[in-house]
C-alpha cells in the first residue's frame, strides 16, 4: 500500500478517529507497536492510548496533535487530515491556563489608586494651606511682631530690660479681670486676643513717653484697655489691674517671685499646677516673673548670676547652690511667713 492510497483511505472514512486510521496504516505497513514507539520516543502504553483514542490518558491537546503529526510522518502520510479529524472530534475547549502570580513586578503607575489618592490629599492639603494663609494674611505681620511675646505668653511673661518696660511686660499683665484671653492659660491664641495685644503693644513708643507721665494725664491707650468705669489712671495701681499693664511695678503685684538673670543661665522652672513652665536658656539681663501656683520647682544653671526677689525682697540662693547649680523648691508664702 503506497502513501497515496493510504491518504485516500483516510479521506474515505472521515468518521473514523485519527487513532484508528493510524493503527490501520501501521498494521498495513506491517510495523510492530514496540518499534513505532521506540522510533517516536514514546512509551508503548501511550501509543496504545493514542491508537485507541483514549485521550484522557494522554497529556494535552498540544501534545496529542504533536504525537499524531510525528506518527503520520513516520508512516509517510500527510498529517493534516488526521489532525483535522482530531480537532473535529475534540473541539478545542478554549482552555486558558489558570495564570497566577508567581512574581509581580508591577511598576506603580501614575494611574495607580494609591498614587491618585496621595495626589489628591496633597492637592487638598495645599489648597487648605493657601486658604489659611489667605485668611490670616493681614494678621501675620502683627503676629510676627508679637511672636516673642506670644511664645512666652504661653508660659511666662518676659521682660527685656532694654526693650522698655511697657513693651515687654505686656503678656504677663493680660490677667486683668476684663481680659478674656488669659495669657497664662497657654491655650490657643484667638484672633481677638491678638488684636488686643496689638492695640496694647504696637504703641510701645507711646508707652515709653507715657510711663513717666502716668501721674499727669490718662494716656489714650489706657482708656481703650481699661473699663469705662475707670477713665483715669492716676488712682492707686492695685485697684486697676488693667492699667497695671503699663507699669513695671505691677509685675511684682501679680507675680510675687521675679527671677533676674545677670548672666546666661539654663533654667527650668515649673509651678505646682504644671501649667506654668520655663525650660530654656535665658540670656543675660532677662527677667522672668513666675506665674501659676506655688510652690515652684527650680533648677538654675550658673546660679551665681541669678537673683530671685520675692515681694521685692532678695531671696538668698546660696544654700541651694551645688556646683553652681541651684535645685530647690520655692514657696513664697512659707518664706514670707
Amino acid at each position: 500500500m503506497n502513501a497515496g492510497s493510504a491518504e485516500d483511505n483516510i479521506e474515505q472514512d472521515v468518521l473514523d478517529g485519527p487513532g484508528k486510521k493510524l493503527k490501520a496504516l501501521r498494521v498495513a505497513k506491517n510495523l510492530d507497536l514496540g518499534r513505532v514507539a521506540s522510533l517516536l520516543h514514546l512509551s508503548e502504553e501511550k501509543l496504545r492510548s493514542l491508537e485507541a483514542e483514549d485521550y484522557q490518558a494522554l497529556p494535552g491537546p498540544v501534545f496529542i496533535q504533536g504525537y499524531i503529526r510525528n506518527y503520520a510522518r513516520l508512516l509517510g502520510v500527510s498529517p493534516e487530515p488526521l489532525l483535522s479529524a482530531f480537532r473535529s472530534q475534540n473541539p478545542e475547549k478554549d482552555r486558558h491556563p489558570e495564570l497566577r502570580i508567581s512574581q509581580v513586578q508591577h511598576e506603580v503607575q501614575s494611574s495607580h489608586l494609591l498614587m491618585r489618592l496621595m495626589t489628591w490629599v496633597i492637592v487638598i492639603g495645599l489648597v487648605v494651606l493657601v486658604v489659611i494663609w489667605w485668611k490670616g494674611y493681614l494678621k501675620w505681620p502683627l503676629m510676627m511682631n508679637s511672636t516673642p511675646n506670644q511664645e512666652n505668653s504661653q508660659n511666662i511673661s518676659e521682660e527685656e530690660d532694654d526693650g522698655g518696660p511697657g513693651f515687654a511686660s505686656l503678656p504677663s499683665f493680660f490677667d486683668g479681670p476684663d481680659d478674656e484671653t488669659d495669657s497664662t492659660t497657654g491655650g490657643n491664641l484667638s484672633l481677638p486676643s491678638l488684636e488686643q495685644m496689638d492695640e496694647q503693644e504696637t504703641p510701645s513708643g507711646i508707652n515709653e513717653k507715657e510711663v513717666p507721665a502716668i501721674d499727669e494725664a490718662p494716656p489714650p491707650s489706657e482708656t481703650e484697655v481699661s473699663p469705662p468705669s475707670q477713665p483715669v489712671a492716676d488712682e492707686p495701681l492695685p485697684d486697676t489691674p488693667t492699667t497695671v499693664t503699663e507699669t513695671p511695678p505691677a509685675a511684682t503685684e501679680t507675680a510675687r517671685v521675679v527671677v533676674l538673670f545677670k548672666g546666661k543661665s539654663w533654667t527650668r522652672i515649673s509651678d505646682a499646677s504644671g501649667r506654668f513652665k520655663i525650660q530654656e536658656e535665658i540670656s543675660a539681663g532677662s527677667r522672668r516673673a513666675l506665674q501659676g501656683d506655688a510652690p515652684y520647682e527650680l533648677v538654675l544653671g550658673n546660679a551665681s548670676v541669678v537673683e530671685i526677689t520675692i515681694d521685692g525682697e532678695v531671696f538668698d540662693l546660696t544654700p541651694h547652690i551645688r556646683g553652681n547649680v541651684a535645685r530647690f523648691t520655692l514657696d513664697p508664702d512659707r518664706i514670707s511667713r
Partner: protein, 350 residues
C-alpha cells in the same frame, strides 16, 4: 482615568513579539494583525545638514536590504533579540502601531505587552520599554519570551508538571522549563535564524568562492534547508558574485550541503537543550521526558529540526501549531489575563 479610558476606546491593546527577524503584533480580539520583517530603511536627506527620515518599514524595507543607493540605508534595528539601534526601533514600532490602527483618526495610545528574551539584561529591557513608550504606548509590560511562547503554544503552564519549550527565533533561541506559572529554568543562546543564514553565506564563500547576500541565504534556507539527513535531496539554483572573477555567477546548491553548513549553529541549539535537561530538577525532567519538548518560533520551520532534537535527546519533540505566531499569541493571552485580573495578577510580567 476617564481620559485614559476614552483613549483606550480608540486604540487596541497590543502584544508585540519584537523579534530580530520579524515583528508580530497581536491585537486583542483580532488575532495576529501584523507580521513584518524588523527592517527599517532610513533616507539621508540631501544637502548639508539634511536630516534623516524613514523611507520604508517592514516588507518594503526588507526588499531594500542590500540593494540601497547611497542615501538610503536599510537596517535591522534588532540584534540578538535586543535593541541595537534605539531610535530606529522606536520609529519602527511607531510605524507598526500606526499601521494596525490605520483606520483611526485619533493618535493611537495602546497598552502594549512586549516579549523580551529571558537572557536580556535590565538595560536591554529598559531600552525596549522606553522604545515602546516613545512609540506612543501608554503602558508597557514586558513578558519573557519562553513564557509567552508556552502560553501561545497552549502548554498547560499552570499545572504542577514540567513543560519544556524551545523557541528558536531570528536572533536567539530560548529554552525553558515551566511549571506552576513560573520559569524553573531558562537559557538563551544567541543562535537563531540569522546565524543559519550567516552559516550558509560562509559555506558558500568557502566552498564556491562566491558571495551571496543575506536575503539569498534566507531563501536557500527556507527552500532546501534541513537539520536532519532526509531521503530526498533537494536542489536550488542561486546567483552570487564570484570572488575570484568578480562577476555574478549562477550555481546549484543541494540540501545536503546546507545541512552540512548548518551543523555549527544547530549544535549550539542542541547543546542548549541538553544543558537545560541537565539543569532541570529530576521530577520536572521526568515530566518533560514523558510528554516531550515543544518547539516554537520560526526556527521550528526548519525541516526536520524536530527529528534532529529527537535523535539527540531521545525525547519526543513536537512542533507547536503555527509556531511563528506562538509568542505573539501567548503575549496577547497574557494581556487578556491582565485585564481579567484587574491589572494586578500576572505572572512574570514587568
Amino acid at each position: 482615568m476617564l481620559f485614559r479610558r476614552i483613549r483606550g476606546i480608540f486604540s487596541n491593546d497590543l502584544s508585540i513579539d519584537l523579534g530580530t527577524a520579524n515583528t508580530l503584533i497581536y491585537a486583542r480580539g483580532q488575532g495576529v494583525v501584523l507580521d513584518e520583517p524588523s527592517v527599517v530603511a532610513i533616507r539621508q536627506d540631501r544637502g548639508p545638514g539634511g536630516g534623516k527620515s524613514v523611507a520604508a518599514v517592514g516588507d518594503e524595507a526588507k526588499q531594500m536590504l542590500g540593494r540601497t543607493p547611497k542615501n538610503i540605508t536599510a537596517i535591522r534595528p534588532m540584534k540578538d533579540g535586543v535593541i541595537a539601534d534605539f531610535t530606529v526601533t522606536e520609529k519602527m514600532l511607531q510605524h507598526f502601531i500606526h499601521k494596525v490602527h490605520e483606520t483611526k483618526l485619533i493618535r493611537p495610545s495602546p497598552r502594549v505587552l512586549v516579549c523580551v528574551p529571558c537572557g536580556s539584561t535590565q538595560v536591554e529591557r529598559r531600552a525596549i520599554k522606553e522604545s515602546a513608550a516613545g512609540a506612543g504606548a501608554r503602558e508597557v509590560y514586558l513578558i519573557e519570551e519562553p513564557m509567552a511562547a508556552a502560553i501561545g503554544a497552549g502548554l498547560p503552564v499552570d499545572e504542577a508538571r514540567g513543560s519544556m519549550v524551545l523557541d528558536i527565533g531570528g536572533g536567539t533561541s530560548e529554552v525553558a522549563v515551566i511549571s506552576l506559572n513560573g520559569i524553573v529554568y531558562a537559557n538563551s543562546v544567541r543562535v537563531g535564524g540569522d546565524r543559519f543564514d550567516d552559516a550558509i553565506i560562509n559555506y558558500v564563500r568557502r566552498n564556491y568562492g562566491t558571495l551571496i547576500g543575506e536575503a539569498t541565504a534566507e531563501i536557500v534556507k527556507k527552500a532546501i534547508g534541513s537539520a536532519f539527513p532526509g531521503n530526498e535531496v533537494k536542489e536550488i539554483e542561486v546567483k552570487g558574485r564570484n570572488l575570484a572573477e568578480g562577476i555574478p555567477r549562477s550555481f546549484t546548491l543541494n540540501s545536503n550541503e546546507i545541512l552540512e553548513s548548518l551543523q555549527e549553529p544547530l549544535s549550539g541549539i542542541v547543546g542548549a537543550v541538553k544543558a537545560a535537561l541537565e539543569q532541570t530538577p529530576p521530577e520536572l525532567g521526568a515530566d518533560v521526558a514523558e510528554r516531550g519538548i515543544v518547539l516554537t518560533g520560526g526556527g521550528a520551520l526548519l525541516r526536520d529540526i524536530d527529528r534532529l532534537l529527537e535523535e539527540e535527546t531521545g525525547l519526543p519533540v513536537l512542533i507547536a501549531e503555527d509556531p511563528l505566531t506562538c509568542v505573539a499569541k501567548g503575549g496577547g493571552r497574557a494581556l487578556e489575563m491582565l485585564d481579567e485580573r484587574g491589572g494586578e495578577l500576572l505572572f512574570a510580567v514587568e
